[in-house]
Structures are given as C-alpha cells and as structure tokens.
C-alpha cells in the first residue's frame, strides 16, 4: 500500500504553495494515508483495453473562436479587483529570490 513519506509530504506542500506547521504536516500526512488506503482498493479493478481519456458526454465540444476581447469597456475593471493593483497593473513582489547572506 502506498504511504506518503514525511519528505514527500514536504515536497507536496512546497509544490502547492502551502505552508504547514510540523503538527499540520503530521496530521495531514496521516489523513492522506488513510484516504489512500481506501482508494487503493481501486487497484483491484482490471482496466485492460480501457481508455484513459474520459469525456463526460459523447458530443464533441464546440469551442468559441480564439479571439482576444475585453470584458466590459476595458480590462481595468478586472485589474481593479486585485488588492495589489497599482496604476492599472497587477503588482507582484520581486520574483527573484534574494541570496541568503
């Protein structure tokens, strides 16, 4: 049966951008392992000749034309919803990490 290791749990938290305390990490790892213990039963099902792409309905999806368009009069309305909006732009903190001195 698959078990998530302590180290891999740390990797998952980092990838999903979640900061977890030691206790949260321990509790979540235990809960996820319980869930995996339950879903592991699915491995018993033979899936030979089964397709791994699934379409909920058989009809082909009709996509809209891939054309740029503005919502409302301008995109400014959307940008203004951001708490970090500055001068009509999204503001983000510096992207490059500073080296530890």
């Amino acid at each position: 049966m698959t078990k998530i290791s302590e180290q891999f749990m740390g990797e998952l938290a980092s990838r999903t951008r979640l900061e977890l305390s030691g206790q949260e990490m321990m509790d979540l790892r235990e809960q996820l392992n319980t869930i995996l213990g339950y879903v592991d039963a699915l491995q018993e099902v033979s899936v030979e000749e089964c397709d791994d792409s699934y379409n909920v309905h058989p009809n082909a999806l009709e996509l809209r034309p891939d054309e740029p368009r503005l919502m409302g009069d301008s995109g400014q309305q959307l940008v203004s919803r951001s708490v970090g909006a500055t001068d009509g732009f999204y503001r983000v903190p510096r992207v490059l990490e500073q080296e530890e001195s």
Binding site: A13, L18, L28, L32, I35, Y38, V47, P93
Partner: protein, 483 residues
C-alpha cells in the same frame, strides 16, 4: 407560500392576485424567524429585492405574462456569480471579492422575473458534506438544530426547507445538491452534465460540476429547469438538446422497470432500509417492476471520485495566488513565492488544503499512472457498465445517503468518514447522469431521501417519475416544526 407550487404562485403574481412585494416580505419574515438559529445565508439583499418586486408589481399583467418566474424569490449558492455582489465560495481567500458579471443561471433567472433575495452558505469551494467547512459560519439543520444540513450546498437546502424561498440554486460535484436535500427533507435535482451552462460557477472539479435547483417538489424543479437549460457559448460543455420539461399528469407511472444496486441496500441500517423499501412498495403497488442489480464497480465509485475530483480541484484552485483575486497576505520583505504561499496557507481552510495536497499527490510523477490514469480508466468502465444497466430499465433507484443527518462535529475529525456520506451520490457525477433526491419516509423523525437516476440527458424522465411519485405519496409535504 410553502404549500403552493411555483406555477400557481407565478400565475397569482401575473394576474395581480398576489403582489411580488408580498412574496419578498413573506421570505424575509421566514428569514428573520429562522436565520438566527440556522445561519443558512451569507448575505441577504432585502432593499434590492423589494425594489425589484415593486418593479414587477408595476408591470401590466400582459407584461408579467412574459416572465415565467414573475416575482419568485430565489436564493443563490455563494459560488455562483451575481454581478456586483460578493462571491466568496465561503472562503477567506475570496472574502473581499465581488463578481464582475452574472452567471448564466443568474442572467436567466433575472430575465424570467425571479428575484434574488440572498446568497447561501456552503462548504468552502463546495468541498464537504456538512457545510461545517465554511470559513464564516456553521449552518444548522432546521429539523434538529444540533445536526448538519448536509453539504456542500447546505445553505440552499435550508433556505427551501424553512420557506425562505421555493427555489434555491446549488451546485453538485459529488452529491452537493442531493445529499443536503435528503438531510433537509426537500427535493434536489442534479441535471445531466452539459444541461445547464456553468458560466459564472466557480470551478471545483470541472468534469463533475453541475448547477441545479432545490425546490419542494419535482414539478417546481421542472419549472426552474425550463428556464435554465440550453446551450451557452460561454460554457463549451453545455449542450444543444431538444429539452422539454413539461410534465404530464398521467395517473399511470411513467416507468415500467426500475433497478436498485443490491450492494448499497445491504449496507443500510434497519430503519433506513424500511424507508427505502416503502418507496419500492409504492412503485410495485402501481405495477412497476423493481429488481436488484449487481454492480462490482459501483462500490468503487467513491474511490474513483476521491482520486479524480481532488486532482481537478488542485489544478482549478492553483489560480488563487493573491495576485488577481481576493485576499492577499503579504509582508514587506516577501518574495513572490513567499507571498503566494502566505496567501494560500492563510486563505484556504483545512479541507481545501487537504484536497489540494491529495490531488497534487495523485497527479505526481511516479503516482499518476497508478492513481489518476487508472481511475480515469475505471471511470470509463463504470460508464459502460451503467450504460448496460440502463439498457434494461428506465431508472435506477437508491437511497440518497446511508443515514439521516449526523450531529454537528461528529465527523469533522475524520475526513474519510465524512467522505462516506457521498457514497451513493458520486456515481451520477462520475457518469454525467441526471439524478434527483426526493424525500422518502422519515427515519426517527428526520428526513431521509430516495434517489432516482437515469442515463445522460434523461433529465425529463427523472423529473417525470419523481413528480409522479410525489402525486401518489406525501413524504415531501412534511416540514420542520416552526420555531
């Protein structure tokens, strides 16, 4: 109002026998009576609702005739966009976010003359089965205030059970309309995947999510469906189909043969089994053949669901990064990664974090084949198996839930136990089928639902049969005792 159908209420408003303002007033009387105890709503819009109602009352009867839901108060789950209003998904991360546009369903309801009176509480991002995972409040079941209303659309279910409204919208990804409908003694309909546009619904698991109505009866649900269905270019999964939700009033049952999954029934407790069998007896007494069916894969449905839905959710919820939407947690020295991590860690509650981590795990290199790809293959196999089941019958009948509503706090410490509350409802989402929960005989004085499921786009057959059952029984007429 609770005793009237939507059809007859709208007729009364249209001809001026009842004023829309009176309906809104009646809704807020019920809200004032129940809301301090039940906490089903995240916000209500009394002034706006009164103004809209007054505008409808000012129309001529001929003008109101053009509005199929003239004056009908409705409640909307807080993961469906209402322009200009908050759209929080009951999450801190979206606490201050407002919607810039109306969801398609909101557009259609408004065009039909319905009045949005409130937005309802839910489990955060629709992840949960009890509405205890809301970041803001725990909603209580009006039948017993120490119990949960079910979830994730618990606030919408309570809104109908208490008479705030005859129609509330919810969303159903693994049972989030049907399970709370069962716990609260109301009718909850999950349409086939692709029936209603999800434009404006905040995505949880995109190959499962559907919007649907809570009502007191299947007849009312059909009336709402007639307004909501149809192709919408803004949701590429919505389907063009010759929908017709006009229900017949035949005395004879609209189905000949119904099947029930024997493994599910064998798991039920004595009282729950008796409730289910009472519904079977009603069908048999009217000449419907009811037979058991064995399915190996149905017992694996919950496992499939808890691999696939969190995987989709982990991807959908990656967009919440504090840059574009909602709250942002930031300290002056934070890098971008640190700010995003701080925002997500403080913004998402424990259940949402659990599912993001689980979904990320099952999609990880080295595990994706074993979990995600394998579950997709089993999902295909389940669909084929269900197609064979439906070839030999008109409908599948089963309980909506294993038990009645559980106590608040009873399952919060053990996520797996909580997930099992959805064991009978996830099948319909996995195969994109139409399914409805209607009240069956109560168990120990609490509501207990029975579920009817048919193949994809057999929505009318489901509603027609549920409507017929509600003509020959009165299980759906019970209401919680007034406070």
């Amino acid at each position: 109002m609770k005793e009237q159908s939507i059809e007859s209420l709208v007729k009364d408003v249209t001809r001026g026998a009842v004023k829309a303002t009176e309906l809104v007033e009646n809704s807020f009387d019920q809200i004032n009576r129940w809301e301090p105890e039940c906490q089903a709503l995240l916000r209500s819009h009394q002034e706006k609702a009164e103004a809209q109602a007054a505008a409808i009352d000012a129309l001529t009867p001929a003008q109101r005739e053009e509005l199929p839901l003239a004056g009908l108060p409705v409640v909307i789950k807080d993961n469906i966009a209402v322009e200009g209003e908050p759209l929080t998904c009951a999450s801190y991360i979206l606490e201050n976010y407002r919607a810039d546009y109306n969801a398609l369903v909101v557009e259609r309801l408004k065009q039909a003359g319905a009045i949005i009176i409130a937005q309802s509480n839910m489990d955060e991002f629709a992840m949960g089965s009890s509405t205890e995972n809301s970041a803001f409040q725990v909603t209580k079941n009006p039948w017993d205030l120490t119990r949960v209303p079910g979830g994730s659309s618990g606030g919408s279910a309570v809104s109908v059970a208490t008479g705030y409204t005859l129609c509330a919208l919810g969303s159903d990804t693994g049972g989030s309309i049907r399970q709370p409908a069962s716990y609260c003694g109301v009718t909850g309909f999950k349409p086939s995947y692709g029936t209603i546009s999800r434009y404006g619904l905040v995505a949880f698991a995109s190959s499962f999510d559907q919007i649907g109505p809570f009502t007191r009866t299947a007849e009312d649900a059909a009336k709402i469906m007639q307004v909501l269905v149809g192709r919408d270019a803004r949701d590429s999964t919505s389907q063009q189909h010759p929908w017709d939700f006009t229900l017949s009033c035949e005395v004879a049952p609209p189905v000949r043969k119904v099947r029930y999954p024997i493994s599910f029934i064998e798991q039920l407790g004595k009282a729950e089994r008796e409730s289910f069998e009472a519904v079977v007896q009603v069908l048999e007494a009217h000449g419907v053949v009811v037979e058991p069916v064995v399915s190996e894969l149905w017992t694996h449905a919950l496992a499939m669901y808890y691999i696939l839905a969190p995987a989709e959710a982990s991807s959908n919820l990656a967009r919440f990064d504090g840059v574009r939407y909602g709250n942002r947690q930031e300290e002056s020295e934070d890098s971008l990664v640190k700010m995003v991590t701080r925002t997500r860690s403080q913004g998402f509650g424990p259940e949402v974090q659990r599912r993001i981590l689980l979904g990320n795990f099952t999609l990880s290199a080295g595990y994706a084949d074993k979990y995600f790809q394998h579950a997709q293959k089993v999902r295909n196999k389940l669909k084929q198996e269900l197609d064979r089941v439906f070839e030999g019958c008109d409908l599948v009948l089963m309980p909506t839930t294993p038990q009645v509503a559980f106590k608040i706090g009873e399952k919060t410490a053990d996520p797996m136990t909580m997930y099992l509350a959805d064991i009978y409802t996830v099948v319909a989402n996995l195969i994109g089928a139409a399914a409805i929960s209607i009240p069956g005989p109560s168990v120990g004085g609490l509501p207990f639902g029975v579920q009817l499921m048919a193949g994809q786009f057999q929505d009318q057959a489901v509603l027609e049969t549920a409507h017929w059952l509600q003509q020959v029984t009165d299980f759906h007429r019970s209401s919680p005792a007034e406070l």
